[in-house]
Symmetry: C2
Subunit: 248 residues, 2 copies
Amino acid sequence: MPSAPDQHAMTMVIRKLKSIAPLLDTDRRAIESLPVRIHNLDARQDIVRDGDKPSHCCLIIDGWACRYKLLSQGKRQILSFHIAGDIPDLQSLHVPTMDHSLGTLTKATVAFIPHDSLRDLTVRHPGIAAIFWRDTLIDAGIFREWLVSMGQRSAFEHVAHLFCELYLKLQAVGLAGNYRCPLPVTQADLADALGLTSVHINRVLQEMRGKTLITLRSRTLVIEAWDELLRISEFDPTYLHLERRAAA
Amino acid sequence: MPSAPDQHAMTMVIRKLKSIAPLLDTDRRAIESLPVRIHNLDARQDIVRDGDKPSHCCLIIDGWACRYKLLSQGKRQILSFHIAGDIPDLQSLHVPTMDHSLGTLTKATVAFIPHDSLRDLTVRHPGIAAIFWRDTLIDAGIFREWLVSMGQRSAFEHVAHLFCELYLKLQAVGLAGNYRCPLPVTQADLADALGLTSVHINRVLQEMRGKTLITLRSRTLVIEAWDELLRISEFDPTYLHLERRAAA
DNA sequence: CGGGTCTTTGACCTGCCTCAAAGGAAGTGG
DNA sequence: CCACTTCCTTTGAGGCAGGTCAAAGACCCG
């Protein structure tokens, strides 16, 4: 097992964990020495499926993934977006049966880490267990905020809110800055995440461009008016529980 | 501090925990000997508010509570319903700042447990830590399912889905059975939970009564056609991750 | 340069919302 | 135990945000 990619693999997860809580050096080293199996995946491939009982967790090293759930008649709800450093199926450690699927949105590099190693890690390093727990709790906080958006915000506000969230999450791990971030997902993906149709997403995006709030071209989002975007969507970053470092 | 009410207080949380995972006797006893401060609250009272940094967790002993978030113009999104045995702000152990509020829906009895005692408990009893973690993960699973309902289900299906969920959760702790359960919330509360208006909730309920699916009178829900309700809402109980015991 | 995917546009439709008011139920004080 | 009050449910009429269906561009990658 080569060590160069592993090193990079672990760089991102360390950054991610540091973005949500202080991390001891001993804990960092323990994480870096986890055994991982690295895979390269195409876009739109499943990683774990609804109903599976996985024996590994999946760490995203590069590319984007999402959790989603399928209903009859081809309806799909995207539940969360995931980027480098995320472990989207960490919950499978304590809830063995998947109640949703996890798949890539873009080409992606992922690392599989055996449950056994992770369990061992959390037993030996209670601090890591606490950070992992905290991560899943923040995850839940993001679901709650998505519920608020779904239930109470207009399509326009909802899109604006999502863009603020994604920008801050990417910024927190060094993947965004200067009001510019990657957004390598289709309008249909956005629609499935927001509970709208791609037609309507398209019209909302045009309206946002018309108001010089954002531009979205070649898989890159540029936020032209951050404060305005915050105001419109009543965005309050508290729920992301990021370590302070980044401006909001 | 009287021990009779404490006993009852702990009965429900033990039942709740047993409904989601096996519980060791030593762990049960450790939980039963937690120090608690018991309060009686009126309906529609806040327990913890958005932005607070609580030093206690709140265990519901009797009555109903909900998590919610307020937006400008009086909009309210209810994020979850909570019943006896639940500890809705368990996450405050690892995420100190509340990113939502917690309040009663009915008159309620609650027990406050100091964070210190709970942290001590989880350190001494890793099994309890694991169950607590699992509980918060199941919570997140419920948020995900609510997202699916919000994004993809019609108002009718959404209401049906919620009723299935509430019935099973109540049944799991012995508060429901025979397709009959308490539902002491107003139509306005339901509306705020489902992202609809109370007017529309009212019309959906009438339609459900018309189809002899349910009756809802004097704060009691009777499910007249369970299988039909499951089918309509594409309800799959997996996401509740209940210990098998109850029929579905 | 060719084929598939993604975005954009138009016309029409509908599920749910808004506003407003009346009817019922349930708790409270006398 | 009644009368009052307050909250909750129900009903009606009209409106709009976002959906549906279908087709035409634009882009991207091999």
